[in-house]
């Protein structure tokens, strides 16, 4: 049998309900009502009234009747007629008759009297027993009446005791259950928190172990310290969103703390990331972001050609060996759809300030000149390549110019030259910290 019945109008999932039968009834009723609709509508609700006569198999006997019957038995139990005197109203024949009757009585009495005596004796006994029984019944009835009054009191009392016991038992049970539940809940919470602490400790141990072995730094902590807060990074990266508008499958290579992935999600852009740092991946996943712990080339080799519609590579290329970078960019081209953008942002080596800061990060391999990155993108096949500079050094950290109005008329020329030189120096020393090379397939 199929799982539930699906008919045109209704659906019922119950094996014990015959939906077809219901539908048949519905259709029949509709047909019937249509046929009736010509005649008057009255009488559709016939009321069937059944006579409520109770079966009457026995003659009802009430107490009054019993009393009457009993009085009769009481007065008629003595069937011996000892008061009967033989006499006759006939003056002459009477004597003979009386004599005859006395004789007959004597002769009959000889045979009948013992029987009557016995019957009378029997009757007396029966009446005595009945009288006793009647009296006892009467007493019983009185007791019964009294018992009727006591019974509910006893029942109520019993009920009350029962109730109290039940309540008490219930309270004990509830108390024990509550205690058990409390203990279970606390144990569960303790277990949960312990698990969480252990996982944090494991993470910490992994990262400190890595440091001891000189295999690298805890990059998560490093980024927190040197790169800036997630909020700042998100704000800075918002400028890149324009290249990925209406995209569904953007790949963020080296997604780190997931700032750009989060930004894209907030703007309804479908995106996923890859990163080789396990901590970063765990962090992103905890934030609900789709990130895989895998290196870029392995991932790109695995996915289908033209399966991504945008590629974002932020602060990654400077970590890569040239061969790896070249292969990666070539794969990026292969996997990107036609018209999709690739955007690679990195440290600007044209700025002395950022060049110096470049070495803060020990995992940096070498800075990449904007022209080099442009060339590499071109070589991979990308077109319409441009570079844009971001993250200017704040003014209060740059060399200051002299205001023309602060100088005398005769020094104006010198100030102009000086300020021009300052501009040149600022561009070299304190130029934009980052740049992005943007290409299109």
């Amino acid at each position: 049998m199929m799982d539930g019945m699906y008919l045109d109008t209704f659906e019922i999932h119950d094996d014990e309900i015959d939906v077809e039968e219901i539908m048949r009834k519905i259709k029949d009723n509709i047909r019937m009502r249509k046929q009736k609709s010509g005649s008057s509508e009255g009488g559709s609700n016939e009321v069937c009234q059944q006579s409520d006569s109770a079966p009457c198999n026995a003659i009802p006997v009430n107490a009054k009747d019993i009393q009457k019957e009993f009085d009769q038995i009481n007065s008629n139990w003595d069937i011996g007629n000892r008061t009967y005197a033989i006499s006759s109203h006939r003056p002459i024949l009477g004597r003979v008759l009386v004599k005859g009757r006395q004789t007959i009585k004597g002769e009959v009495g000889r045979y009948v009297d013992p029987m009557i005596d016995k019957q009378t004796e029997f009757n007396r006994s029966v009446v005595n027993i009945l009288s006793e029984a009647y009296r006892s019944i009467g007493e019983l009835n009185i007791s019964k009446e009294n018992a009727k009054d006591v019974k509910p009191i006893l029942a109520a009392f019993e009920n009350q005791i029962d109730q109290k016991l039940k309540e008490l038992l219930g309270q004990i049970k509830a108390f024990v259950n509550a205690m058990n539940e409390e203990v279970e809940n606390r144990a569960w919470l303790a277990g949960l928190l312990e698990k969480r602490i252990n996982s944090s400790r494991a993470k910490l141990e992994t990262s400190s172990g890595a440091l001891d072995e000189g295999q690298g730094v805890n990059y998560f902590v490093f980024e927190e310290r040197f790169r800036g807060s997630r909020a700042d990074i998100k704000q800075r990266q918002a400028a890149f969103l324009q290249f990925f508008e209406r995209c569904h499958a953007v790949l963020d290579i080296g997604s780190g703390r997931g700032e750009f992935l989060e930004l894209m999600q907030e703007h309804g852009i479908g995106a996923r990331g890859v990163d080789v740092d396990e901590d970063m991946v765990s962090y992103c996943r905890a934030k609900g972001l789709q990130v895989e712990n895998i290196d870029a080339i392995s991932y790109l080799e695995r996915i289908e050609d033209k399966s991504v519609d945008g590629i974002f590579i932020d602060q990654v290329v400077e970590h890569l060996e040239p061969d790896y970078l070249i292969k990666m960019l070539s794969l990026c081209y292969q996997k990107l759809i036609y018209g999709g953008y690739i955007l690679a942002e990195t440290v600007n080596p044209l700025s002395f300030f950022s060049s110096v800061n470049f070495y803060i990060d020990m995992s940096h391999k070498k800075p990449i000149h904007p022209e080099t990155l442009k060339f590499l993108l071109e070589s991979a096949g990308f077109r319409e390549i441009e570079t844009r500079f971001f993250s200017p050094v704040p003014d209060d950290m740059r060399l200051r110019k002299i205001r023309a109005e602060d100088a005398g008329e005769e020094d104006r020329g010198l100030v102009e030259v000086y300020n021009h030189n300052i501009d040149m120096l600022n561009a070299i020393l304190y130029g934009a910290q980052d740049y992005a090379a943007i290409g299109k397939k």
Partner: protein, 356 residues
């Protein structure tokens, strides 16, 4: 580790507010330190630690704490949800598609539209959950990860019904042998109140001794007028719009009802269905959105709004005790799924998933 819940509003009697308070109660029972925050609060004698959402900001830096964000309407505090460093559980209660409010209320139309559009930008969370499978599926369609999504049914307040008295005057007035058809819900166009009236119209042709109770708040003047005009045009009696009622009255309407009829075309969960199960009222409901998920295999689903057949079905249920009992038996089975113990267990699993 603290657990915070963030809502748009907290309103007395509202199902999501009650759900939030119940989660809070359960979490506290388990030993968590908890808070509830909301943009606006309209609730006297609040039973828990509740505050305006601006006070949540001081907890946002913590990566240890857990936030449960309830999303049922667009609210500015989605930015708090977006920016928090807490572990995040996003609970989706669904938002009525704006099309239902077009021409009735520009403001509600706009809030619904914005709420639904924002959904795609809220996917960044540790775990997402819907209060029905339908809502979970809608989350996935909007970009939420399937492998970190779950279902947490709404916590229901049966205790409230146990403790409140019936309105005996109301009960006696309508306990008169009429077949009482009940619907409970806001008087909104997605609920298709006009279709309930149509069903009564046809049922009255079979049984004149019948009436329809439409129990729910009226808040759209033009829709109300349309419905009143419709009732007048059909010339049927015994249609009762009660507007918002007290809990005692609501209980009385449930006790009076012979059939619960729902023709709604958009529901995120539909609490009155579960309440009808609780009050042992046979349910007939239109097969849309979350309704088949909430009923699962219980009640009777309407696939096509053929009113004459619906009227005949109501008549069969009203007259056939055996059929009625069988439907109620199926509903009783389904009701266990919404048992408090089950929902608590489910919540425990969800918290474990999010925290571990």
């Amino acid at each position: 580790m603290k657990v915070h819940q963030l809502n748009s509003t907290l309103v007395f009697g509202d199902a999501i507010t009650n759900h939030t308070l119940e989660i809070d109660k359960v979490l506290r029972k388990w030993g968590f330190d908890t808070h509830i925050f909301a943009k606006s609060i309209d609730y006297k004698n609040l039973p828990a630690s509740i505050d305006l959402d601006k006070h949540y900001k001081k907890y946002m830096q913590s990566e240890e704490d857990l936030l449960i964000y309830h999303y049922s309407v667009y609210c500015e505090n989605i930015n708090l949800y977006k920016d928090t460093n807490n572990l995040k559980i996003f609970e989706y209660h669904n938002i009525t598609p704006q099309k239902y409010f077009q021409g009735y209320d520009e403001n509600i139309w706009s809030i619904c539209k914005q709420g639904r559009e924002e959904l795609r930008g809220l996917t960044a969370c540790t775990l997402s959950m819907g209060d029905s499978e339908y809502n979970r599926q809608e989350l996935i369609k909007n970009g939420f990860r399937e492998d970190t999504s779950d279902v947490l049914p709404i916590f229901l307040h049966y205790d409230d019904y146990e403790s409140v008295e019936l309105n005996y005057n109301l009960y006696e007035k309508f306990d008169d042998g009429f077949v009482n058809i009940l619907f409970v819900g806001r008087i909104a166009p997605n609920k298709k109140i006009e279709d309930l009236i149509k069903a009564l119209y046809f049922y009255k042709k079979i049984n004149t001794r019948s009436r329809l109770f439409i129990v729910g708040a009226r808040f759209l003047d033009y829709y109300d007028k349309e419905l009143n005009d419709f009732v007048n045009a059909l010339g049927i009696k015994d249609v009762y719009f009660t507007n918002k009622v007290s809990l005692s009255d609501l209980k009385t309407y449930y006790e009076l009802a012979d059939i619960f009829l729902c023709m709604s075309e958009h529901e995120g969960f539909c609490v009155p269905l579960v309440e009808s199960m609780y009050f042992k009222i046979p349910i007939i409901a239109y097969n849309s959105t979350a309704i088949p998920h909430t009923l699962e295999k219980s009640g009777i689903l309407i696939n096509q709004k053929k009113y004459i057949e619906i009227a005949e079905l109501m008549n069969l249920i009203a007259e056939d005790e055996k059929l009625k009992s069988r439907i109620i038996a199926g509903q009783n089975k389904r009701l266990h799924y919404f048992d408090r113990d089950n929902v608590e267990k489910k919540l425990k699993t969800i918290i474990e998933r999010a925290v571990s």
